[in-house]
């Protein structure tokens, strides 16, 4: 009951945000929060729930972005057409790289995904069809509404909101299905899960493919909004790291963790850059990094985990008070 109440409040807040913070920059900031929340929620499926820390998710992000821009550049189609193509390609790529790499455990899996991401960046940098080092652009002037090239950030905001809602719904459904239980068992102890008969390899692979497909949607949406992708902005490792940090900061393995993380980190980055970036001393990253260090040091479980814990504490306090009152 309480859960539904908070969910309703959260939805109202998200829907109302662009009307309360209505300048174009604030609306865009809101859209970016939702966009990164999509990517981080997608990562959360494999990284949070299954505990397989992929640092190469930018491969799927880039796959979606390149598919969207490629549809326009090579076929003069709406970038929207590229979205499903990128999704299919991402899922296929995830299957191909997932089979060998998901056998690796812990850091070795992370390292393998980094290698794959760097490999993809180098291949694209040298592939003329994908714009090589120059990158691919989207429609400069929108031809029709399907080009998704708007001046206002509002349409992006609600589009991203819808996609995020779908992503979270899929995640929620998954966590409550048999697969979700398997994944949590694998995260806690893969060997124990296997010994109890959980199909670990298959489950991890499915989670990885699902995560990849959703990440590619985020990539495609990113490219549509900014109208451009090149190897660094579409396949740079920093994007993987950013997605990972958002999920970890908000609370990996929690449904709304990535959204909380994005809602803190994206404004922090953009606003600190707006206030300090013009000074030209790289202060932005100092502030940004310091906050991440503080959180990692004092609250490694993520902000949402902290809130949950405080909530639980208050509840037990209240209950014990109640108990004391009853006893007297």
């Amino acid at each position: 009951m309480r859960r539904t109440f908070w969910l309703a409040i959260a939805i109202v807040l998200v829907v109302a945000y662009p009307w309360v913070f209505s300048t174009p920059f604030q609306q865009r900031l809101g859209a970016l929060v939702l966009l990164y929340a999509i990517a981080a929620s997608a990562w959360n499926i494999i990284g949070g729930y299954a505990g397989q820390v992929s640092v190469g998710h930018v491969v799927f992000f880039g796959c979606g972005a390149y598919a969207a821009m490629g549809a326009y550049t090579h076929f003069a189609l709406s970038p929207l057409v590229g979205l499903p193509a990128g999704l299919v390609a991402s899922v296929a790529i995830a299957a191909v790289i997932g089979v060998p790499t998901l056998r690796l455990s812990g850091h070795y899996f992370s390292m393998a995904t980094i290698a794959v991401a760097e490999l993809a960046r180098l291949i694209v940098t040298n592939t003329d069809y994908l714009g090589a080092a120059v990158g691919l652009s989207g429609p400069t002037v929108p031809r029709n509404v399907f080009d998704l090239s708007f001046i206002s950030a509002l349409p992006y905001y609600y589009l991203f909101f819808a996609v995020l809602a779908v992503t979270l719904a899929i995640t929620w459904w998954m966590t409550n299905s048999r697969m979700g239980f398997y994944l949590r068992a694998i995260r806690d102890s893969e060997r124990a899960a296997r010994s109890l008969g959980a199909p670990a390899s298959r489950t991890k692979l499915y989670a990885y493919m699902l995560s990849a497909g959703l990440t590619s949607v985020a990539g495609a949406l990113y490219a549509m909004m900014f109208g451009f992708v090149d190897p660094d902005s579409g396949l740079g490792l920093l994007i993987s790291v950013k997605i990972l940090i958002m999920a970890a900061l908000g609370g990996a393995g929690l449904l709304f963790g990535p959204l909380v993380g994005a809602a803190i980190l994206v404004p922090l980055e953009e606003i600190s850059n707006s206030l300090l970036g013009g000074k030209g001393a790289g202060l932005t990253f100092v502030v940004y990094g310091a906050i991440i260090v503080l959180i990692a040091r004092f609250q490694p479980g993520g902000i949402l985990a902290l809130i949950n814990r405080l909530w639980a504490k208050r509840k037990t306090k209240q209950e014990s008070k109640q108990g004391a009152a009853d006893a007297s």
């Binding site: 300048t23 174009p24 920059f25 865009r28 970016l32 940098t125 040298n126 090589a132 080092a133 120059v134 990158g135 652009s137 400069t140 002037v141 001046i151 990113y222 900014f226 109208g227 451009f228 090149d230 660094d232 902005s233 953009e270 850059n273 707006s274 970036g277 013009g278 000074k279 030209g280 001393a281 790289g282 932005t284 990253f285």
Partner: protein, 417 residues
């Protein structure tokens, strides 16, 4: 007790009044946004660009009679707007096309800038100018050379810098003149890295020279940030080209210079395409073993007392470094924009756009070696061009071509060390 309670509100009132008067005074300032990489990989370039624009602001906003007839220098502020001062709001693009676009949007909608300049990396100029186009705000770029930037049908984008095709033409003219004076320039090799810059310039050179019936004989590619270029140098040593054109970033340029010395290879003529060879750190590390290398630049200091010499001095005071070609091109773009606002006599974007379209600056009105500034329908400066400079007697480049701008005659052959 009473008084101390009053102090707070009084102070607040005083601050509020101060802010209000500040806001009133703002009507006399023209705000321009500048998006540059002030952090990240290209931070050095961005910080130098910022210094260059701050020097330009000093020249525009304060009276500088020593500049003679140089536009905007003589009186304080913009005469066309009743002496209004120009203010620049800098923003950091962090080397990311997304951040560049976000910051451009913020400058337009929050800071209410009337025009934009930037953004160094071609990819970021592309996304930042796209948002300016949507909002109808003029964007003047002085340094991004990707050819597609002016092929987008934009109405608010203007570019003052020469691009690869212009340089190819300068090189061709230079070779033709050197040939007339007895040097051999028939067999040309191009050495380049595989970055966007290296590949696009190499392709443009190949296309231009082929068109002139003088195809490039050899194409030698290497991966940027190389650790070893012996095989490339040996390849050149084996083929003995008359001219070697180098398209390299700084660390690779230094490595090539050292490897050439180690393998004792000196091409008769070595021509560098700006970039690494213009970097002050290249000249410090490998200047003494690269004597006689030709390079391109649109910037030259010029005779003492000339506007360019004064600018060079001001820039050195501001940044601590010598003025380089990139910073100079950015500064020129900013002057072009300020001049257009001055002529428009208005801060209305549409009037500034019209003034930019009507821009017709002559060489003597510029601080850089272009033949002038005049934009075509696509927003490209059709009078952009460059000089050939040569590293002679130590660590300074001197202009050697074209004759009109030459400080000294070119020295052949390449001396090396």
């Amino acid at each position: 007790m009473r008084l101390s309670k009053l102090v707070g509100p009084l102070a607040a009132a005083a601050i509020a009044m101060g802010l209000a008067s500040g806001a009133m005074a703002q009507q006399k300032t023209v705000k321009i946004g500048a998006v540059f990489p002030l952090s990240g990989n290209a931070a050095s370039a961005g910080v130098h660009a910022k210094a260059a624009i701050e020097v330009a602001l000093d020249i525009i906003n304060n009276a500088h009679p020593e500049f003679g007839n140089f536009p905007l220098a003589k009186n304080a502020g913009l005469a066309g707007l009743g002496g209004a001062k120009v203010e620049v709001v800098f923003a950091d693009n962090q080397g990311s096309p997304a951040t560049g676009q976000n910051q451009a949007l913020r400058l337009i909608t929050e800071e209410k800038v009337v025009a934009l300049t930037g953004a160094y990396q071609s990819g970021i100029t592309l996304t930042a100018s796209a948002i300016a186009e949507k909002y109808g705000i003029p964007f003047v770029n002085g340094e991004s050379v990707a050819s597609n930037l002016t092929e987008r049908g934009f109405k608010w984008f203007f570019r003052t810098t020469p691009i690869a095709t212009d340089f190819a033409q300068v090189y061709y003219d230079f070779f033709t003149e050197m040939k007339a004076s007895g040097a051999k320039t028939d067999n040309i090799a191009v050495v380049h890295d595989t970055t966007e810059y290296g590949v696009s310039v190499a392709n443009t050179l190949a296309a231009t020279f082929k068109e002139k019936g003088h195809p490039i004989a050899q194409d030698v590619a290497y991966t940027t940030n190389a650790t070893d270029v012996q095989s490339q140098v040996l390849q050149l040593k084996d083929k003995k080209p008359d001219v070697v054109i180098m398209i390299s970033y700084t660390s690779d340029a230094i490595l090539f210079a050292k490897t050439m010395q180690a393998l004792d290879y000196k091409p008769p003529m070595l021509l560098a395409d700006d970039s690494g060879y213009s970097d002050p750190s290249f000249i410090k590390a490998a200047g003494k073993i690269s004597q006689g290398v030709f390079n391109r630049s649109s910037w030259s200091v010029g005779p003492a007392g000339s506007p360019t010499a004064i600018i060079a001095k001001l820039y050195k005071e501001k940044s601590g470094d010598e003025m380089d070609d990139t910073a100079a091109r950015q500064m020129q773009a900013f002057f072009v924009l300020a001049d257009a606002i001055d002529r428009a006599g208005s801060t209305e974007p549409a009037k500034i756009q019209a003034a930019l379209k009507a821009t017709d600056l002559k060489p003597e009105q510029l601080m850089i070696g272009y033949k002038g500034v005049k934009f075509d329908d696509k927003g490209q400066n059709i009078l952009a061009s460059g000089l050939i400079i040569q590293l002679q007697d130590g660590e300074n480049y001197v202009a050697v071509f074209p004759k009109a701008n030459a400080e000294k005659p070119p020295v052949m052959p390449y001396k090396g060390w």
